[in-house]
Amino acid sequence: MSVFVYVEDWDGALKKASFEAVSYAKTWADMLGCSVVALVSDSATGIDALGNYGADQIRTFSPAISGFGVAEQVKSMSEGGSGLVISGTNFGKTIAPAVAALSGGGLSTNTISTPLQTAPLQVKRGAFSSKGIETIEIHSEFPIISFTPNSIGIEERSGAGQISSVAAQGSDLLELIEKSVTTGKIALPEADVVVSAGRGLKGPENWGMVEELADVLGAATACSKPVSDIGWRPHSEHVGQTGIQVNPNLYIAIGISGAIQHLAGVSASKTIVVVNTDAEAPFFKAADYGIVGDAFEVVPKLVDALRAFKAAQ
């Protein structure tokens, strides 16, 4: 018996969330006393590294284009397994439910814990836009876990995975016309550090300093809902209840008051820093560190201080 794990790559490079997925599968497999089988695209590079995180076997396959096609492949390759782990990336969120529907397995998405127990499987997951935590039980022979990236952590183990290739059929019901990707940008849901700004910045022309701060920290940039609604920033940067939910190690909010809908999208962040001119801004109640001050003075100073800190390291 094995716990299977779907390993996602991005143009051939393994995603950080994929190492986290293998770490998750290894923890689960240890509880069950079984091995870990990683399923990865045959165009991905550096796959032997998966062994260092607990993959006993690494099986490569030629992936279909659409989520459904990959779901069919993952389902057929993990037949008879004790469970399946998929990271909660955009693509992972598309395929995990399809695998569950095809296999009749129970699925927990938004999972934020490793198994609390295995018979029946119990995990914690975020619900009510991070305003609640649900403990869910999966009563099924083939439970599937999709976890929130960054919520579990990556654990290095010693080991070497045995690599082999398998043939798997998947049907593509969609035709891909075009893929446009902003290269060099850090994807928000997986970012370790997020720098986010709101209406306090007064206009889209002032985002330069936000991007500069993000640059120094290796962070992804984000924004509040009003800012994306008035078109200062794209919707894909909108963080909050109806936007993207993030849980980075560090979330820096600049000129965002902290409406309950915004907090719902960011409250899972490990450390929150808030910069706002209004000492009464509700965001300070949800923050770890706060500065009451003008963003136009504070942010450039913070950029300088962080540059000096990074240079000294």
Binding site: F128, G132, I133, L176, V193, T242
Partner: protein, 248 residues
């Protein structure tokens, strides 16, 4: 064009969330329920399609009788008829099975779901439904154009966008971008009056064993009090982030 819009009945985005004393479920006392915001973008998109090319809009919810005001609101906004599948939606697979059965008995050209509901945040039902029907599926869909029987969609992917093409019928998991915030409609008096006489059918669920079950709900641990740093003490903030929070 016959469109099915799947609607969830969820606590308002500003609602304070509390759970019952035994942690078994949401404490609905004092909570206002609304159409799931993701579904509202989908419903508005359906109205745009119907206004441009004709057709019908059916809204569907899996839920108890207490969810009917939410369906009536969707009718007041402009849907033609509503279906309530009489089951408590506790497990995604069984919800998807119930919706699939309704679709199999009624022909729809397009099935619009919100990407996720803001209560359980499962983001499961749309993809499950599509897989059960073997219909094309686009998640995180932020654009939809129809040309006869062909749909061209735009979806968010990690770090960018993808565009797809496929023949109908299909399922989408939609979000803002399908239409904009300013396009959302508030029911007017005529809409509210006409919604009263529009059909709202109740269908009984097909029993299926639920593979998942909620054990308990709890609220996240509260944060410790915020540490304020003076705006001229930025170096101190950097020190705290490094030494105390270990965040940089």
């Amino acid at each position: 064009m016959d469109i099915l819009v799947c609607i969830s009945h969820v606590p308002d985005t500003t609602a304070k969330i509390n759970f019952t004393a035994d942690g078994s479920s949401l404490d609905a006392a004092g909570v206002q329920f609304v159409i799931n915001p993701y579904d509202e973008f989908g419903l508005t998109k359906a109205l745009h399609i119907k206004e441009a090319q004709g057709g019908s809009i059916t809204v569907l919810n899996v839920g108890g009788p207490e969810t009917e005001p939410t369906l009536r609101k969707a009718l007041a906004i402009g849907a033609d008829k509503a279906i309530r599948i009489n089951a408590t939606p506790t497990d995604a697979i069984t919800v998807a099975q119930n919706i699939k059965n309704h679709i199999s008995a009624n022909a729809y050209d397009l099935i619009i779901c919100g990407q996720e509901s803001i209560d359980y945040n499962g983001q499961q039902v749309p993809a499950m439904l599509a897989a059960m029907l073997r219909y094309p599926f686009v998640n995180a869909c932020v654009g939809l154009e129809l040309d006869g029987n062909t749909a061209k969609t735009k979806a968010e992917i990690d770090g960018g966008h993808a565009t797809y093409s496929n023949a109908l019928p299909m399922v989408i998991g939609g979000k803002k971008g399908l239409v904009e915030e300013k396009d959302l409609r508030i029911p007017n008096m005529r809409g509210i009056m006409s919604a009263r006489s529009k059909p709202l059918g109740v269908e009984e669920p097909v029993a299926g064993a639920a593979p998942t079950k909620s054990a308990t709900f709890e609220k996240p641990a509260g944060k410790a009090a915020v540490k304020m740093v003076a705006p001229d003490q930025i170096d101190e903030l950097v020190r705290l982030l490094n030494e105390e929070a270990k965040a940089i």
